[in-house]
């Protein structure tokens, strides 16, 4: 039963989560661009993985208006993101904040990259070793041939 109701809720949400267009006028173009950037950066809390810009859900509309209000009030981008963070938590920010829980998220890629360099170097080094072995084998063959000659 729970699953069924939940499924229905999802459906309603999903249908609301399509493109949305607000026709707000901003005092200047700069602010409009900041507004656009902010609503693309913030996640709609109700939908399945869409940002505020891409959602028609009621909460997304309210939050867009809130972003606009805060911008007109002269708040900085950071203050607006913090405002949302205090209310909706990590979930609402598409760029996760750096804290203890996200250290590996932010530094993992660097770690992978360094590991790749190490693996590359170690493979190249091992290859040299086997290359040398091959040379050694040729030398060995030459020595053996020389021995064979001596025996003749």
């Amino acid at each position: 039963m729970m699953n069924i109701t939940y499924g229905c809720i999802l459906l309603l949400f999903a249908s609301a989560c399509v493109a949305s267009i607000d026709a707000h006028d901003f005092p200047d173009k700069q602010m409009q661009l900041r507004h656009q950037a902010l609503i693309e950066e913030l996640r709609c809390p109700q939908c399945l993985n869409t940002n505020l810009a891409g959602s028609d859900a009621m909460i997304a509309r309210d939050l867009r208006r809130e972003v606009r209000r805060l911008l007109v009030d002269g708040k900085s981008d950071n203050e607006i993101l913090s405002f949302m963070y205090e209310r909706y938590g990590d979930f609402v920010l598409y760029t996760p904040r750096l804290h203890m829980g996200t250290i590996f998220l932010w530094f993992g890629p660097l770690l992978f990259f360094l590991a790749a360099i190490l693996i590359f170097l170690s493979i190249i080094k091992n290859r040299r070793k086997s290359a040398r072995e091959e040379v050694d084998r040729e030398e060995l063959a030459a020595i053996l041939r020389a021995h064979a000659k001596d025996l003749d």
Partner: protein, 654 residues
């Protein structure tokens, strides 16, 4: 009645797949040739019954048999006929049946196109594919049976297909994607068969190459179509969202790309044997993981199918069995395999190694970002975290930039060893030339941007190296252009594949940095100027479609007084589901798209309107299709066709 036929066919397919798993394998273990060869006919039967099941479901959709649950919840008698067919794979059960059918198709293809495989290897490969088919069919029957009826009471009208999916894109995108996804099962099966037989040799790499190429090409087409579909259908002009499900299809693609390159070095130079096997296992494992992520509901995504933990549990167990088993076999059987081939650090082998490592890092980065929210929730006691496009762009793009720099340098590399001065000769001039070309391009578009300078310069630099490669071949034959006709198809495949990436890079770069966008309120008669185009809002009118009603606006676009086009964006209301859809209208062009979408109705017959101009956006998809074409062309290479004779010759030599 037909639905029962489909259900019965699916049960028969289950039985046949069990036979396909066991009989050839038993033949291999006991040395019984007849048993080994029976796989061919079982595979044909398996495909036949899967096809029959699939066609029965199609039939149920066409005749609006709403007593079948799946039809009732995904179709409607007013749904246009072409969408009734695509509705078959519009939700979980049917799309999984398609997935299984595609696997059956690939298995059939193996029986038809691998005469050069030895009898025991073919038996092994078929047995492995049979096991996968068994797992898929069982999953279908146990947890997601599309033929389930709701008798005696059933709805007289269906719930309709999700309007987002009522579109040409959905007719073609999933089948292409699935052919690609599931296609990696063949190199996977070949890799496992090789480990099983213990004969990890170059012949294995040559068998795998064409299969990998075809699967990769289909996956490329599938992803490209998905991106195009999202662009025009979701109504806000985005073409890639770093959504969990997109990532799920992107990861096998990245590993598949690495596999194509690594197979080349394994076949030609007998290097990286175990590594290549690991990539073949990983590519398919990531496909399965993708299936798990989409269908289990552990991740929230715009694409997620109806969520059911039981299904997720089944796939997870299957995943652990298949992938865990394969990797365990790998750990045991890849022991002691060494290649004695030598190569220098500037050789083509080394370049391919760099390519592979970077692609694996890229995959790992995408995987980290996709699964991190899950891990975070698991370890923080239920706290939620979002990882979105800004993160992926920040960590993925740098890896790609390094990869593309190597793509430019490596075009000249030779097997075994490349002299450093050969590798670097003239490259300085190419870079300078590319910077010049980029600057011209940027100034013609708008403004100088440092990111564009970096990426587009690299794109032109790669292009310079590709062209040089062609010219040098001709030059060596004293400018005899006919010489190009004698080049193997795989050479052209390589050129096209890389050219596609160059085209895509330019497209992505220009779209991201030079798109202009305005959201505004427009009433009839209003006019606005954007990047040299005049957009005039003429009027809106209502009209009725087969299963929706629509408000359609007319917007006339002019430039320098000349009419360019009239665009008709719509806001549609689909009554069966009560959902509203934004249908954008687009004037496509090679160098720019004009994109107009309708928002909400406002007071006094005015509407919210979004107008976008997206330069070079088509290049993204053209690039993807060119690369896919490259993958296909390479398969036509003569080498793969005469390999059987070569094998015999090799055998006699030994």
């Amino acid at each position: 009645m037909i639905a029962e036929l489909g259900h019965f066919s699916l049960i028969l397919a289950l039985g046949l797949s069990l036979g396909l798993t066991t009989l050839p394998a038993w033949g291999v273990q006991t040395g019984n040739i007849t048993l080994m060869q029976c796989g061919d006919s079982i595979a044909k039967g398996l495909f036949f019954f899967l096809l029959l099941a699939f066609l029965s479901l199609c039939y149920a959709f066409v005749v609006d048999d709403f007593s079948v649950n799946y039809v009732a919840s995904n179709s409607n008698s007013a749904l246009p006929p072409q969408y009734k067919i695509s509705a078959v794979w519009g939700a979980h059960e049917g799309s999984f049946l398609l997935w299984t059918l595609v696997l059956g198709g690939w298995t059939l293809a193996v029986t038809l196109c691998s005469r050069d495989l030895s009898v025991d290897m073919r038996a092994r490969v078929l047995s492995i594919l049979g096991f996968l088919a068994f797992g898929f069919t069982l999953f279908s029957l146990l947890t997601s049976n599309p033929f389930e009826r709701s008798l005696p009471v059933f709805p007289v009208e269906g719930n309709d297909l999700n309007p987002l999916l009522q579109d040409f894109g959905l007719i073609v995108h999933p089948p292409m994607l699935y052919i690609g996804y599931v296609g990696f099962a063949v190199p996977f099966a070949l890799a496992i068969a090789t480990l099983w037989s213990g004969r990890l040799d170059m012949a294995w790499a040559r068998w795998s190459r064409p299969w990998t190429n075809v699967a990769w090409a289909f996956l490329t087409v599938g992803i490209t179509l998905g991106s195009w579909w999202a662009y025009y259908e979701l109504g806000w002009g985005g073409w890639w969202f770093w959504d969990a499900v997109e990532n799920a299809s992107f990861m096998p693609w990245l590993v598949g790309t690495a596999l194509i390159h690594s197979l080349a070095s394994t076949e030609k130079r007998a290097v990286f044997k175990t590594w290549t096997v690991l990539l073949a296992i990983s590519a398919f494992s990531l496909s399965l993981l993708g299936g798990f992520l989409v269908r289990s509901g552990v991740l929230t995504s715009v694409h997620a199918f109806a969520q059911d933990p039981q299904r997720g549990m089944y796939i997870l167990v299957f995943l652990i069995f298949v992938v865990g088993g394969s990797l365990a076999l790998y750990a045991v059987r890849a022991q002691g395999i060494k290649s004695n081939t030598t190569y220098s650090w500037s050789s083509r082998e080394a370049m391919i190694l760099v390519n592979n490592l970077l692609l694996v890092v890229a995959t790992a980065v995408v995987l980290l970002g996709t699964l991190y929210p899950l891990a975070y929730e698991a370890f923080s006691g239920g706290k939620k975290l979002s990882v979105g496009p800004p993160y992926f762009n920040a960590v993925f793009v740098p890896v790609m930039v390094v990869l593309f720099i190597f793509m430019a340098i490596s075009q000249r590399s030779r097997w075994k060893d490349t002299k450093i001065d050969l590798l670097l000769k003239r490259q300085g001039w190419y870079v300078i030339g590319s910077i010049g070309l980029t600057t011209v391009l940027m100034l013609s578009l708008a403004t100088f941007k440092s990111y564009v300078l970096l990426t587009t310069t690299i794109a032109f630099w790669i292009l310079a190296n590709l062209l040089e490669n062609v010219f040098q071949r001709v030059n060596r034959k004293r400018w005899n252009w006919n010489y190009l006709l004698t080049q193997p198809l795989s050479y052209y495949g390589m050129l096209l594949g890389h050219l596609g990436m160059v085209v895509m890079m330019i497209g992505i770069c220009c779209t991201v940095y030079y798109s202009v966008e305005r959201d505004l309120r427009m009433a009839p008669g209003d006019e606005i100027e954007l990047a040299g185009y005049q957009f005039k809002f003429v009027e809106t009118r209502k009209f009725t479609g087969p299963n929706f009603t629509s408000d359609q606006a007319e917007i006339v676009v002019t430039r320098d007084g000349q009419e360019v086009i009239s665009l008709f964006p719509e806001k549609r209301f689909y009554s069966a589901r009560g959902s509203i859809m934004t249908e954008a209208d687009i004037d496509p062009g090679l160098f720019r798209d004009l994109y107009v979408a309708l928002g909400e109705p406002l007071a006094q017959s005015a509407w919210g309107v979004r107008i976008q101009i997206k330069p070079f956006v088509r290049w993204i998809w053209i690039g993807g299709l060119l690369s896919a074409l490259g993958g296909m062309v390479a398969v036509g290479d003569k080498r793969y066709r005469k390999s059987r004779r070569d094998d015999l010759a090799n055998f006699l030599k030994i």
